[in-house]
Structures are given as structure tokens and as C-alpha cells.
């Protein structure tokens, strides 16, 4: 499974995607770093593996996730998609567990498992009854060091990934356009390469390259374990020490922190991809991330996205869809949970008979309105209320909760960053929103894409 960044997918979560967790009545753990008011507990094993425990005692289940500090940015030159294809290969057997048997074992124990890859990280997870946690740890610890790949298995799985690319990208004009726009936006930075990889490059990966990738990136000292669910920090610590603590640390190549490439001009792309029925207008901007931006910047960008284009009361929707009737839909999104730069986007779908020029002019006018003056009190407070409430709603989904902490730690944030998020949203001022709009919604940092219908 691959997480594909997509305008509409990003939009559906209305800006921020990670939130902390506050529950009543948990007891302070005997060990581990948990400051007062924190829900999650963090500690480290002697082999360098980080561990985070999030208690959720509503149901007798756990979410067990193992995150590695490796992703699409670590694909060797000319071998885009290597991290993602390698994620698939992690299911192809070890010295003691035959190919495919890990998932079957999880299922036989009443659990569900899968994995996903982004530019910044790769994560493997199981959701299962809490008494099966030791077994899950054994299986993950085993494939962290004992993977045993055959040439035939690598080639068959490569075919599976090529089918995955056909399904997710080649069959979907919007995915194809998105991929080209991100390539244009990030220029030669690895964020410009699709995580799933280009067809021609995926096709060349072989067993030797896979094993090299494994040895370069997979070790406990490059991993973060997240356990959320009906467990205590003490029992997770004991189990993690027993199952993972025995895996030896290894010296890995240091992970490059690839600098941003300067952009001196906007880019414009005109698409006429066969199979496109619906014309669409997209604009992406590079923008600071939670990991890289100055404190408060990403929070203000989340607020900016909510006010500019988060739902039907937003400026873009009210102006382009309701008042001017130029578009059938319109909105904005911000993806800030990256190790490198973040991404801000606006989009609109022209109504029949409306030209791209007319629509883009109107869209630009609304985007500029965010730089001309601070937001008004009503829209500002509604956006804040909505974002802060997400923090509570997010507690309802254990997998999401585990995911939020894992993602944050994988891009260099701390559990305090996760749990303090609603307070930092509350601290955003109207002037901050205007300032980030002025600073970051600039042409030089943007790519505009127009998708023309083509049968």
C-alpha cells in the first residue's frame, strides 16, 4: 500500500493530519519520559530503537507500528520506487518465516497487517488482540534482520508493484497530472520523484539492489516503534526489550538532508491526458513544513488553508462556487508533515463554458485577498474551533492516533509537538495568517496545472 499525495485526498482531512491524545485517569508510568499532561510515553532501547506507547483502553486491541527512517528520498539515483518496492519485499520471507507467511500468521491470530511508504518514511503495522503483541514483535524483529529474498520472489513482486502503479497512477489522469506537477515543483529534489517510482525505473530493480537497500537502511537504530492500545508503558518496555532489544545496532550510511533547490520562476503545465473528462485547475506552492519552518509557521498555514479553502464556508468555495458560479468545486489544502519542505495547494473545477483564464483570474483574486488583510473574526474563529475539535475527534481512531505519533517522530518532531498542537493552533493570530500568505503564496514558488478534457 502506498500513500499517494493527492490534492483531493489531502483536502479531505482539512489541513492538519496529526493530533495528540488526552484521556482521563491514566496512571503515570514507573519509567520512561512522560511529562505531566502527556498521554504518550517515550523511551529508547540500548540498541537505539525509539519506542512510543499510547494508552487506549476502550477495546482489548493494539496497533503495533514499526517506522523506519527511509523512504522515497533514499531511492538511489535512477531507481525511483526502490523504497516502496522494498517495502513489498519485506513480506517475502525470512530464514524461518516462508514468503507470504507473515501476513497469514497475523490473520490466523485475528489481526490485520499492511505497510506504507512515503518520501520520508516506511511503516509496517498490525492491528490485533492485545495478547498477540509479543508475537507481532517477534515477527517484526525477525524481518528487520533476517530477510531471505529469492530472485524469483523479487521479480514476481516487481510485477505486482508495476500493477499497483497501473492501478493507482496510469489509470487515473489526475494522479498522472499530480505526479508531473510535483516533479515540476521540486525540480531535482527527491520530493519531485514519485514514491511509487517511474515505470521504467521500477522495472530495473533486482535482488542485489534490494539486498543492498536493506543493509543500508534497516536496523533498530533507524526504527521507531509505536504501540497504541490496551497496554501499559511498563509491559511494552519489557516486551520491546525482550523481542527487539536483542537485535544488534548497525552502522548505516548517514541520511542526507537534501537542501531545497532554488526556484526563480513559476511553472505552468497544460495537460491533455487521454481519458480526462473533467477539466481541473491546480496550483501547488512549496511552503515550510512542521519540521523545517520557524515555530508557528506551519500552524498558521493550517489556519490559512482552512480559511481560504477548507469546506463550504471558505473564501474559495463561497466566491468561485456560490457567488460567481465559475466552479463546481474549489478548495485549498496544506501538507506540513514532511521532513523537508511542505506543500500548499489550491484547486478549482471550472463549470461548463468557463475558461481556465477566467477561473484562474478569479482564483488568484481570492488567494490575494488573504495577503491584503488579516482574516475576519468570524471565519478565523470558526476555523480555529474546527481544527482544535479535530484533536478530540482524532482520539476516536486508534490507528490514526498511532499513525500521527509515528509520522511526527519520523520527520523529527517530538511527542510534545504532537500533544501541544491544539495549543499552538489556539495561539495563531490573524496577522500570522496574513503574514504566511504574503510570504509563501508567491508565484516563484508555484506550479499551476490545467487539465484539459481529452477523450
Amino acid at each position: 500500500m502506498l500513500k499517494v499525495k493527492q490534492a483531493f485526498a489531502a483536502l479531505a482531512v482539512s489541513g492538519a493530519v496529526f493530533f495528540g491524545y488526552v484521556a482521563a485517569g491514566e496512571t503515570a508510568p514507573a519509567q520512561g519520559v512522560q511529562q505531566s499532561g502527556q498521554k504518550a510515553t517515550q523511551f529508547q532501547l540500548s540498541n537505539g530503537m525509539k519506542v512510543v506507547v499510547i494508552e487506549d483502553h476502550r477495546a482489548p486491541v493494539v496497533t503495533h507500528m514499526l517506522w523506519f527512517g527511509v523512504g522515497g528520498t533514499d531511492d538511489p539515483p535512477g531507481l525511483s520506487g526502490a523504497a516502496h518496492l522494498f517495502e513489498h519485499l519485506m513480506f517475502k520471507g525470512t530464514k524461518t518465516v516462508p514468503p507470504g507467511e507473515l501476513s497469514k500468521t497475523v490473520a490466523r491470530n485475528g489481526g490485520q497487517d499492511n505497510a506504507f511508504t512515503s518520501h520520508d518514511y516506511t511503516a509496517y503495522f498490525q492491528r490485533i488482540a492485545k495478547d498477540r503483541l509479543p508475537l507481532m514483535m517477534e515477527l517484526e524483529a525477525d524481518r528487520m534482520v533476517n530477510l531471505d529474498l529469492s530472485e524469483a520472489n523479487v521479480l514476481t513482486e516487481r510485477d505486482v508493484v508495476l500493477e499497483e502503479r497501473r492501478l493507482r497512477v496510469e489509470s487515473d489522469p489526475q494522479s498522472l497530472a499530480n505526479e508531473q506537477m510535483e516533479a515540476a515543483l521540486h525540480l531535482s529534489h527527491p520530493y519531485g520523484r514519485p514514491v511509487i517510482g517511474w515505470m521504467a525505473e521500477i522495472s530495473t530493480m533486482n535482488r542485489a539492489q534490494a539486498i543492498d537497500f536493506y543493509k543500508s537502511h534497516y536496523a533498530p537504530n533507524n526504527a521507531t516503534l509505536i504501540v497504541a492500545g490496551d497496554v501499559t508503558p511498563e509491559e511494552v518496555r519489557r516486551l520491546a526489550q525482550e523481542k527487539y532489544g536483542v537485535v544488534e545496532r548497525r552502522t548505516l550510511a548517514p541520511r542526507p538532508d537534501v537542501p531545497m533547490v532554488p526556484r526563480l520562476s513559476e511553472s505552468r503545465l497544460e495537460f491533455a491526458i487521454p481519458g480526462t473528462n473533467l477539466p481541473q485547475l491546480f496550483r501547488y506552492y512549496r511552503a515550510p513544513s512542521y519540521a523545517k519552518g520557524p515555530k508557528g509557521t506551519a500552524e498558521a498555514l493550517d489556519m490559512l488553508a482552512a480559511i481560504l479553502g477548507g469546506g463550504q464556508t471558505s473564501r474559495l468555495y463561497q466566491s468561485l462556487v456560490v457567488d460567481k458560479k465559475l466552479a463546481s468545486s474549489a478548495g485549498a489544502f496544506y501538507s506540513g508533515y514532511n521532513r523537508g519542505t511542505g506543500q500548499f495547494g489550491v484547486y478549482a473545477t471550472p463549470r461548463d463554458g468557463v475558461s481556465f483564464d477566467t477561473l484562474e483570474t478569479a482564483m488568484d483574486q481570492i488567494v490575494r485577498s488573504m495577503t491584503a488583510a488579516p482574516p475576519e473574526a468570524g471565519e478565523f474563529e470558526r476555523a480555529k474551533t474546527r481544527l482544535v475539535a479535530e484533536y478530540t475527534y482524532q482520539q476516536d481512531n486508534q490507528f490514526q492516533l498511532a499513525n500521527d505519533y509515528g509520522q511526527a517522530l519520523s520527520i523529527g518532531l517530538t511527542i510534545a509537538d504532537v500533544e501541544d498542537w491544539p495549543n499552538r493552533i489556539r495561539a495563531v493570530q490573524p496577522a500570522d495568517v496574513r503574514r504566511v500568505a504574503q510570504t509563501h503564496l508567491v508565484k516563484e514558488e508555484s506550479v499551476t496545472g490545467r487539465m484539459q478534457p481529452r477523450p
Binding site: 489481526g111 500493477e163 487515473d172 463549470r351 476516536d396
Partner: protein, 447 residues
């Protein structure tokens, strides 16, 4: 099922996952007689609500497919004295999430609120049900949005295959129509059509409501009064069962697709029939079990023919199906279908093994709590059970029903339902037949 299963598993050395301390579901007496189920969970200050009305696309007029979907899209577009924008602002200022969608049988309204805002949330929900506005501004805006999404749906081979499959399988029955409608149908709908549909279907008959979260019986009963008491008591006719659906067919929709999508399926047992549970277990073994299913093994793991293949039971109020889909490169899609057919034939002929059944049972019973670990999932699942005609204690009985399925039953169901000669198959995308014969040879030798 409270045998301390973890300990038991250790003793006898086999995998029997812990069963959930089942959530408690109770029926709440409603002054309006509306069937309401409640699952209380007080650790997070939020409430999730699902309400289903018998108002699905099966009730669309034959010349106006898309009416139910348009009505559902308008339910959060203004109510009472508040036009769309004012109503949306009222929701947002309290972070209340409210929406509605239509499927073939029902319109489902969902609402999520923080506990502190529950009074206002249920007041707004009551306005949606009893005083929706259907302003012409909102109607035209939603009509345009639906027409745009219909265009986009036709970009995807998976939706094209699915729409055509239902049309082929159901013929003249109302389930043949896509619940998202057609461009000409959506164009033809008038405001009168919308108001009549709402008046006939947003009524007290057969409404199912489920609530999960930080709320108790007494508080909920206060809200029920304002939600339903003023709704009309009209009855809504049940959609007739299809008379001659499911004639075997194999169609190709010619399109230039790099990877065509095939949808395939046939009739399945009705939800409340005795055949349903054993067939549900059988289906897990064949195609429902994700990475563990036979079809996934044969097509993905052994042959690299696809990223994924699955089959599932689709139960409607008046019909039931076993359907699946697979996507593969145009030179391989015919091979993928051939392998699928031969696996169906083998399953019908030889059935499952005792080990496969045991594995299916440990997964299906052990994973059951994973689907009930959040208020949103509990509300959604309870609402589905209500629509299926089950009782509130089903949550407690369900795992025992799975455990009770025998190998003889599974094999009888495999034989009865999984007959490849009965398949209705629709492929969206033109297969490359020449490449298929070459790949077929390769596929046979691959391990």
C-alpha cells in the same frame, strides 16, 4: 466466550485470539417508535450518530436516476430559517460534522459532535430531518457538483466496470441503476421532484438510528422527541425482489486502458438466510481474506498478475450478491480472469480444507473487535445491523455463529454459490488478446 482465551491458547497450543469484551448495545425506547440502538462509551467526550431512511436510489424514478443522491447532498444545505451558508456556519462554529449520502436502499445521515455541543447538534440534526429547505440556489449548485463528479467517475475504469456490471446483472430491476445517477437523469430533476421524494421517504417508517459515545439513555430520549415526532408516519414500499436477474454474461466495454478492470459475480444468499454465515466464511477463504485468500495467493503472490483481488458479499434489502474485481495490465487481464474462474471451479468442486476453515474462524472472530474500537465504527456497524434486520444482541452472538460453521456447510456453500458458469463479467478496457496468450504461458510456469 469469556474463557480467558489467551490462557487457553497457551495451554492447547493453537491460535485462539482474545474475543472482545463485547460492547453493550441496547435498544432505546423512542416516543416516536423509531428503532434506536445505543452503545455508551464515556472515555472520549464525543458522540457519533447514524440514521438510515428507506430512501435509496432504488426509489429514483426511472427517468430521473440520481434523485436520491441529489436529495442526500441537499440535506446539509440549509434547514429551518438558515440558508446553506448560515447553516454551515452554525455547524462549524461548534465543530459539528453532519452529512448524508445515498446507496441503493437508504439515505444515511451521519453526525458527530463534541459532548459539550450535543444540545445544539441534535437541534440542527432535527431541523435537517424535519425542515430541510431545498433552496433553488443549493439545488443548482449540487446539481452542477454531481454532474462534475459523474464526469470524473467515468475517468475511472473501476467505476465504469461497476456501473455496467450492475446494469448487466439487474437488467430492468431498480438496482440496475447506479446510485450516483446519470447526467440526463440529474439534469431532469425538478425542485418538486426533490420535495416529493423527501416527503415520501424522510418519514418514520423503517428508520434506523444508532448512537455511540458519551451519552446516556435519558439524554438520548430527550433528543429523539425532537428528531422524529413531527415526521409523517407514511409507509415506504419495500423494493420488490428481482425476477430474472443474474443471467450469465461476459461483456467488454472498449476503452483504451493500460490496465482494464474486470468486475465479476453472481447471486449470493440473503442476509437472514441460514446460508449466509457459512457462505461468509467460505468467501473469506476464497477471496475475502486479503493477503490470506486463495485468489490473492494465486493471482498476486504466485503470478504477479495484479496488485489486488477480492470478493465480498453485498447484501441489499431485496437481493444479495457475491462480487469481486481485479485489475491487470491489458495483456494479462484475460489470464487473470481465467485463473479466477479455475479457482472458483476448484473451490466449488473440492471445497475448503479443515485448516483453511480453522484459519478463517480465528481471523473472523479474532479481528471482530478491531471493527468496534471507535465510536464512529460502532455507530456505523450498529446501523448496518439494524438495516439487515438483526437484533441488538447480535454483537454478542456473532462470534459464536462463526464458530458454529462446519466444513460440510462451507463446502456445500462453495458448491451451491460459487459456480463459474453463472458468472456475470464486465471488463472496462480493451484486453490485448495476443499478449494474453503469451502471458498465459508465462503465468503457468511462474511459481
Amino acid at each position: 466466550m469469556k474463557l480467558r482465551p489467551a490462557l487457553l491458547a497457551l495451554l492447547i497450543g493453537v491460535s485462539i485470539p482474545a474475543t472482545a469484551d463485547a460492547i453493550t448495545v441496547k435498544a432505546v425506547q423512542s416516543p416516536s417508535g423509531v428503532e434506536t440502538w445505543l452503545s455508551e462509551e464515556h472515555s472520549i467526550p464525543m458522540i457519533a450518530v447514524n440514521i438510515a431512511f428507506p430512501a435509496g436510489s432504488a426509489y429514483d424514478p426511472s427517468d430521473k436516476p440520481g434523485l436520491a443522491t441529489l436529495v442526500s447532498s441537499l440535506l446539509d444545505e440549509g434547514a429551518g430559517d438558515m440558508p446553506s451558508e448560515a447553516f454551515k456556519q452554525a455547524l462549524e462554529s461548534r465543530a459539528i460534522r453532519l452529512g448524508a449520502s445515498a446507496d441503493r436502499d437508504y439515505i444515511t445521515v451521519t453526525m458527530t459532535t463534541l459532548k459539550d455541543n450535543a444540545d445544539e447538534a441534535f437541534r440542527l440534526l432535527g431541523l435537517v430531518l424535519t425542515r430541510p429547505r431545498f433552496d433553488s440556489e443549493a439545488v443548482e449548485r449540487m446539481r452542477v457538483a454531481i454532474l462534475a463528479s459523474l464526469k470524473q467517475e467515468d475517468e475511472q475504469p473501476s467505476t465504469v466496470a461497476s456501473k455496467s456490471w450492475f446494469a448487466t446483472y439487474f437488467g430492468t430491476h431498480p438496482y440496475a441503476r447506479s446510485d450516483s445517477g446519470t447526467p440526463s437523469g440529474v439534469q431532469a430533476i425538478t425542485i418538486d421532484d426533490i420535495k416529493t421524494f423527501a416527503a415520501d421517504h424522510i418519514v418514520r417508517d423503517r428508520v434506523k438510528m444508532s448512537v455511540a459515545g458519551d451519552i446516556d439513555d435519558a439524554q438520548l430520549r430527550r433528543y429523539l422527541q425532537q428528531l422524529f415526532v413531527s415526521l409523517p408516519t407514511k409507509t415506504v414500499a419495500v423494493v420488490p425482489r428481482p425476477a430474472d436477474a443474474g443471467r450469465p454474461a461476459s461483456n467488454v466495454i472498449p476503452r483504451n486502458e493500460p490496465a482494464p478492470v474486470a468486475m465479476f459475480g453472481f447471486a449470493g444468499p440473503m442476509r437472514l438466510d441460514a446460508d449466509f454465515m457459512p457462505t461468509f466464511v467460505a468467501n473469506y477463504i476464497l477471496g475475502g481474506g486479503g493477503f490470506s485468500s486463495r485468489l490473492m495467493d494465486e493471482l498476486r503472490d504466485k503470478r504477479g498478475l495484479t496488485y489486488g483481488i477480492s470478493t465480498y458479499l453485498a447484501d441489499y434489502k431485496s437481493s444479495s450478491l457475491i462480487v469481486g474485481s481485479v485489475q491487470s495490465e491489458k495483456g494479462k487481464i484475460l489470464t487473470a480472469i481465467d485463473v479466477t474462474k479455475s479457482e472458483l471451479a476448484r473451490f466449488a468442486r473440492d471445497g475448503a480444507t479443515a485448516k483453511e476453515l480453522a484459519d478463517a474462524k480465528t481471523y473472523l472472530t479474532g479481528s471482530y473487535p478491531l471493527g468496534l474500537d471507535s465510536n464512529a465504527k460502532i455507530a456505523r456497524t450498529m446501523n448496518a445491523y439494524q438495516r439487515q434486520g438483526l437484533t441488538p444482541d447480535y454483537v454478542e452472538k456473532r462470534n459464536a455463529l462463526i464458530e458454529g460453521v462446519t466444513l460440510a456447510q462451507v463446502n456445500a456453500m462453495a458448491k451451491k454459490w460459487y459456480d463459474p458458469s453463472k458468472l456475470v463479467i464486465v471488463i472496462a478496457g480493451t484486453p490485448d488478446a495476443a499478449a494474453a496468450s503469451a502471458t498465459g504461458k508465462q503465468g503457468n510456469t511462474a511459481k
